[in-house]
Symmetry: C2
Subunit: 341 residues, 2 copies
């Protein structure tokens, strides 16, 4: 970058006034006379003056920037969240800088570091899968920068959180299967160290309990990787077992998809022989055949809400943080062909 970018000083010099006057004129400060105001305004956009945000940030001690750290960008749910973040951030005049952890807590740590270095006003995060402690997040709030978690939260750090009511969604999905008449409902669970997996499993269990259906351990299978191949082989085993299920509630849609493949390969039909409900309502859920029932998570809204919370905290002038909000967004069960008898 060679080209000289025009500064306040240039305008000042050209008009033979001081930089302070230019600065004030530019922001319509009452101390400045209409004449000089007009003069600098005119010159400013003749020269196409653009304020240097870096200098402003340094001086004003805030950057109007919020940092985002997520496990992986390339994932529909997260990109929906980002979009929601961008939406309210943009309207509030904030920039967002994105980092991804690739599910590594080490990388996450570094990201937090550089975000701090660039002095973001706040960060919005969803934690990596392999975290064992959350000191790096705690450090951040200790240094006085605002923090909001979404979806995958760190329970132990006291800050704003917005999650979806996984337990509720799982419960609703399971109840739906029960009331459709299915009796032997299995669960393809997610990795056990993630709160969301547990919550979904709990919702599943609660529903069974409420309807007096015994919970069978062999009907709860953990799909740790999250690939559909994994779910497919697990489902195949399940179908070949001594107590094959007549319905499946999956921890996510990819697992559900794998299960569907297994079911079809075995020559069974969906939903007549085996029904299935997924979780997250990925883009493809409505497109496959039969269309997959799924519990929709409001990703976009989550991003919005997290950002609103964060910005409120950023705007909080007092030196005690706002009381931590814990927003729980409702899921939305979308019943499609895969689960109605």
């Amino acid at each position: 970058m060679k080209s000289s970018q025009v500064t306040i000083k240039d305008i000042a010099k050209a008009l033979n006034i001081s930089a302070s006057t230019v600065s004030r004129a530019l922001k319509d400060h009452p101390d400045i006379s209409p004449d000089t105001k007009k003069a600098v305004m005119d010159l400013a956009d003749e020269l196409n003056y653009q304020p240097n945000s870096i200098a402003q940030s340094l001086r004003k001690r805030h950057t109007n920037t919020i940092g985002v750290v997520i496990p992986e960008i390339e994932h529909f749910f997260f990109s929906a969240v980002i979009s929601g973040i961008e939406d309210v951030a943009y309207k509030a005049g904030y920039n967002i800088i994105i980092t991804q952890s690739n599910e590594s807590s080490e990388r996450e740590k570094q990201n937090l570091q550089t975000l701090f270095n660039t002095r973001v006003d706040g960060v919005i995060a969803s934690v990596a899968r392999d975290n064992v402690n959350y000191n790096h997040y705690q450090n951040l709030v200790d240094k006085g920068i605002a923090l909001a978690f979404f979806d995958r939260v760190a329970d132990e750090v006291d800050t704003h959180k917005v999650v979806v009511d996984d337990e509720f969604g799982a419960h609703e999905a399971t109840v739906h299967l029960i009331t459709e008449g299915y009796k032997r409902i299995a669960h393809l669970a997610g990795p056990a160290n993630l709160t969301i997996s547990l919550n979904r499993m709990n919702g599943y269990k609660r529903a069974l309990n409420e309807y007096g259906i015994p919970i069978k351990d062999e009907h709860i299978c953990i799909c740790g990787e999250g690939t559909f191949e994994e779910a497919e082989t697990i489902t195949t085993q399940l179908l070949n077992s001594t107590s094959p299920p007549d319905a499946l509630f999956a921890n996510n849609d990819m697992a559900a998809y794998g299960a569907m493949k297994a079911i079809k390969k075995k020559g069974l039909s969906i939903p007549e022989d085996v029904a299935i409900v997924g979780f997250s309502n990925w883009r493809f859920a409505s497109l496959i055949e039969p269309a997959l029932s799924s519990v929709a998570q409001p990703g976009f809204e989550m991003g919005q809400e997290a950002t609103r919370l964060l910005i409120a905290e950023i705007n909080n002038q007092s030196d005690t943080p706002l009381p931590s909000e814990n927003r729980i967004l409702k899921t939305n069960l979308l019943v499609r062909e895969s689960s109605k008898k």
Copy 2:
């Protein structure tokens, strides 16, 4: 943010030396004695000193930040690109700040504006659909900031570009249909003002020409919106016309999906009665039934390559820009069930 963040001055004061010495010590400058070096290093990480990137940026006149403007984050292809960008940017020590235009050139303009204001070192962009001119991009390079386009490029601005070989991909897809034995191949085209749409159409036409198949105007239908509903109704019309096609090449997978719906509704089977090939290889393409053949675009790689080009330009010290690179990435035809007889 109340908490005082430790600065170089704090360290200087504590050690009774000057800020300049601290600064130099921190970066292992040879002028500084080992003793004082050790002293400041020790104190620095005892106090957990973190350099203020804002101040550094202001002083060094670059931010180590690259701006990204894309039509919409919430789209598999773009999120793949972002991921690629993040990948090489991270390794090169750059932050990325993301903006989305939502396909509005007005918003795009604003985004460019704020990116310039935050003095990003360069921007990577894919243009919005409704652009009529690209002055805002030209202004950017005139101001001396590096620019690289990907996928949807502005031909008239002379800068680095990385695109996929749409013409090639479309040609390959069409040839594939021809060699499978299909004779009456229609094309669901994209909006005419986008170069990529034209290139794909041209590839389609070239293939027909090469095989001596006449090009029929009524077999080229523009799907401007990009929704599958649109493609569905258009395909229905096509199938009911006097010269119904026996194969379709669609400008993108969503259109292809709509076409598939139309075909099925009419009671025809895929690929026996009508074959279909899409473009972009969206996530769902392999999951629907029949699995949709599609021309895969290397999104991640595009992001990587664009970023490499951009960083090279940023590092270019001379005041004449590097010669504009024009990288053309090959597509990859994925033949699935929807198109093999």
